[in-house]
Amino acid sequence: MRLRRFWDDLARYKILLLMLAPAVLFYLIFAYLPMAGIVIAFKRYDYIGGIFGSAWNGLDNFRFFFESGDAWRVTRNTALYNIAFIVVNNLLQIFAAILLFEVGGKWFKKLTQSVLFLPYFISWVVVGAIAYNLLNYDIGTVNALLRGLGLEPIDIYNTPSYWPFILVAVSAWKTLGYGTVMYLAAITGIDTEMYEAAEIDGANIFQRVMKVTIPNLYPTVIILVLLAVGNIFRGDFGMFYNMIGNNGLLFSSTDVIDTYVFRSLITSNDIGMSAAAGVFQSVLGFATIMLVNYAVRRYDRDRALF
């Protein structure tokens, strides 16, 4: 009976299912099959045996990853960078969005918004080139300015301690326009009656912003931050790789899980451990998303992701 219904449905949805087939196949191949490939993390990978023919070696890959001391370093770096990005980027974006909304002058508004959006359109390779142009020891603009002022030049590419600040600044720079538009859309959606009421109550513009605009942005802030928190163990590979590349001198403060996994795979060809680090990252990420979603569901069902 139930099976009969199933076959009826299948006939009824024939065309729709066919239309869905390419995407289903795509994700089966490029997302679900690699999930099965997680077994590599528990194997001693060799090219002849391939993913399923290689010999098992239990948890050795994981043990090696954790005992090398790299696990703690890259995990900490990934999480700390993402936390800094979330805080700095969102604050700056909200700040810019509020100003753009309140400031008059259509021409000024349009121009500023366009210019702030510019870095979003550039590839990370170009950002890397720009960073080189600014930070290079011999001919970089920063050091040219320092020399011009009679100060000592700074060897930025050999000094790990500068990089957290540089990377946070670059992330803020690249995402400013995108995030500002997002928050600007949210501000535009605020009921104008609230502003009128505040005006009648004699609120000045600062009070208006603090008491009306910002509280009304909370839902947007919360959803954006939660989405970002769910990805807290994912490093932006394009950014880190183009800014730092294979400059080992900086790894102590710039290596994240994604660059570590890439290097183990491509440079040192350590497939087993690279896979183990990747599994570790996926499991951490999955657990975080589940936790965040559970917390949001308890707080407000409608805002949960699923």
Partner: protein, 311 residues
């Protein structure tokens, strides 16, 4: 609310107005100044790159990169365009990959989104979760890489640059939420007239979805245009190197550039203006995006607002 409430209803309105006018001025000043500073910070790096690309090599080496070209020179560009085969090739690869990837990606995204938006399709939630789950959990880089290289044999093929980026769950969701806002009655009436599911999609839903198609198309095109990662992983054949990866290779490897120039026929490669050339290369690789972005920007804004309504 606070002490200001007292003024409500009293005939002191002008005083309040004057005070709020002062606040406005102060606020506007902060606003104009901060926004101008932020805007300058966003644009200055680009000016620096362009100016460096137009500066004489010896000046760069002695004085460093400057905001204004002290000793103007177009040497870097003339060298870049003297032996342009590889550059042109990289452009062709990028344009081809972007065109094919965007077109196929858009077709598959919209078709998938259309099926998921059909409210009479009983299994749509199940399939939606099937797609969504891939954003929550993944096998990681290694199995994905080995699959593409060892099992699908895509290394050094154009497919490796196109296929992995073709679909994106986020774009499917945005497109689906847009299509869900199209009145169901349209589908119903078409069905009564005897139109099949695919025909409804192709002849009714697609034309009505133009704004969403434009936006997602631009997102896809930008991702393909700026991609270098898939090339880094999968391309060693020089004929398949796209623009951004070409730039990446040249930035890290001036020797490689010399070799490329030499094989292209340049005789004296020791006197290449390497620093200026790097920046000229950056300008050439960025140029088209900078030229079109003011015009396409509003579609990105549109798309982000569609997506933000219900993520």
């Amino acid at each position: 609310m606070n002490a200001k409430d007292a003024s409500f209803g009293k005939p002191f309105v002008p005083a309040v107005r004057r005070r709020s006018h002062l606040d406005r001025t102060l606020f506007s000043t902060i606003g104009y100044v901060s926004l101008t500073i932020l805007a300058v910070l966003c644009i200055v790096p680009f000016i620096l790159v362009v100016s460096s690309s137009l500066t004489e090599e010896s000046t760069i080496v002695v004085e460093g990169y400057q905001f204004l070209p002290l000793h103007f020179s177009t040497e870097a560009y003339s060298i870049l365009f003297k032996y342009p085969q590889q550059l042109i090739n990289a452009y062709i690869v990028t344009i081809g990959v972007t065109a094919v990837g965007t077109f196929v990606g858009l077709f598959l995204t919209s078709m998938t989104a259309y099926v998921l938006s059909r409210k009479d399709f009983k299994w749509r939630n199940g399939f939606a979760f099937y797609f969504f789950f891939t954003t929550l959990f993944s096998g990681g880089l290694v199995p994905w890489y080995l699959l593409i290289v060892n099992y699908l044999q895509m290394k050094d093929t154009a497919l490796a640059l196109i296929v992995p980026m073709m679909l994106n769950v986020f774009y499917i969701i945005v497109m689906k939420s847009f299509m869900s806002s199209i009145p169901e009655a349209i589908v119903e009436s078409a069905k009564i007239d005897g139109a099949g599911d695919f025909r409804i999609y192709a002849q009714l839903i697609l034309p009505l979805s133009k704004p969403a198609l434009a936006t997602i198309g631009l997102f896809l095109a930008l991702a393909y245009w700026n991609d270098w990662y898939n090339a880094l992983l999968f391309v060693s054949n020089e004929k398949l190197v796209p623009l951004q990866y070409y730039l990446y290779k040249m930035l890290g490897n001036m020797d490689g550039m010399r070799k490329a120039m030499m094989s292209a026929g340049a005789v004296n490669t020791t006197s290449l203006p390497s620093e200026g050339l790097k920046m000229a290369m950056t300008v050439v690789a960025t140029g088209p995006i900078l030229a079109v972005y003011p015009f396409i920007q509003k579609y990105f804004v549109q798309g982000m607002t569609i997506g933000a309504v219900k993520g």
